[in-house]
Symmetry: C2
Subunit: 237 residues, 2 copies
DNA sequence: CGATGACTTGAGGGAATTCAACCGTCGTGG
DNA sequence: CCACGACGGTTGAATTCCCTCAAGTCATCG
């Protein structure tokens, strides 16, 4: 029998000790459900830039991110890329209408996920309507984010796009408990550009201009917002 | 007591006679469930350009479209508009994470919806996990469409956008049983432009060029595709 | 039949891209 | 120890695709 997952990368889940449970889909589970969930899930680790899964593959698993940041993206045949989102701890990757992944996901930094077979997951949710409701809430939240991103991609200027991204990203980091002054940007400029429908040069130029205008300071691995209200105004406009 | 809905516009649902049931969320309901659903829902009619609901309003209702086409859109404070989708018969408008509408919807042509109070709807689904699963599938399908639209908005050229729109729209019409040669386009050029993140002039020019190049013929209320494979190639590229 | 609204067409401009060079950091091996 | 290439990021100049502005066409309707 071929093991596709090496033992040192996969381990049994310890749901009771899960640090992101309250953020994740698992918050809807009681003690008994959690024990069963633990039985059917595995923790898996991914190194930076490693693929969690790839668009077009048969979707055998669903994932709940427990640590790190992942980029979710779609490609055109000629290589053009659109990043459709960044997944943070607590995010669920498994809302899909077909049996194949419709987008790809890879680790940006060091990532840990809780992985379940799609089959077991489907069986698990069927009996638990409160859990199903939770999945539904997650799907609804994702959909709303996607719709906001459509507005950004279709109707905002480069400047507004970058400002909106920073404000939105800061907010998401705050939601998972990262309230540091400096906004961590683990993804590359290229990732940001592909998320905003811009080129890497435009993202770079815009950030440098923001810095010249004293709206922020570019630091290693992120930016420090000096004028959050100005950024927020740009994002809303 | 104030009646917000005039009697001649609202009527009791006749779910058993519903022509779009197999396409809609209600396909997951058996006879008994359907009778209960009928009890809590009402049919409402909207004239062209009338608003079904508006972004920011408290979301008291969920809707299932039974006839006509609606545009779903978001606005920026300065009036820029992004159409995030067109709703067709069978489509469900009610997957939302908050108690306020996050987008607006209005009738393009003559529209009929099946409307339920959000409260009654929530209560209804809680007991019916198979129905909840169906809602989930609808949400997943919506999400996938939204992600494809992000790719289009962020990374496709004007030409590709228009071609993709025509191909995708034709496919959606086919799914609801409209397989006519001519692709009906009940929405205005402005609606299409706002859907594709373009200006009305660019949409118009692109369509005229397609016509000059014998890919299609522009007719009243739609287009006739002469070279579907060429359009499909443009859409995929 | 003039007015109105949806759409088309043309000319010119500009925001973002493309192309290209350059900078700084980091890991590697001579 | 430092030369070196690789890589991510920044900056500059030229180009282009799409937008803006403006005018014109066509069908509909009071």
């Amino acid at each position: 029998m071929i093991r596709t997952i090496s033992p040192n990368r996969a381990s049994f889940g310890r749901c009771s000790a899960c640090t992101v449970r309250s953020l994740s889909i698992c918050n809807a589970l009681d003690q008994a459900d959690l024990a069963e969930f633990e039985r059917i899930s595995r923790h898996i680790h991914f190194a930076p830039n490693e693929a969690l899964f790839t668009a077009g593959q048969i979707a055998r698993s669903v994932h709940s991110l427990t640590a790190g940041v992942a980029r979710l993206y779609k490609l055109l045949p000629d290589g053009r890329r659109q990043v459709i989102g960044f997944a943070l701890p607590g995010d669920f990757l498994g809302v899909a209408p077909s049996d194949r992944y419709s987008f790809s996901a890879d680790a940006i930094d060091s990532v840990t996920v809780c992985r379940l077979s799609r089959e077991a997951f489907t069986h698990f949710i069927e009996q638990r309507s409160h859990f199903l409701m939770r999945i539904n809430e997650f799907a609804a939240r994702e959909l709303k984010l996607a719709q906001e991103q459509m507005l950004l991609l279709g109707r905002r200027t480069a400047e507004e796009k970058v400002a909106s991204f920073l404000v939105g990203w800061r907010q998401r980091l705050a939601q998972i408990g990262d309230e540091r002054q400096t906004i961590a940007l683990p993804m590359s400029r290229q990732d940001i550009a592909d998320y905003l429908g811009l080129t890497i040069e435009t993202v770079s130029r815009t950030l440098t201009r923001f810095e010249r205008e004293k709206m922020l300071i570019i630091v290693a691995g992120g930016v420090r917002l000096l004028d959050p209200s100005r950024a927020a105004a740009m994002a809303a406009a």
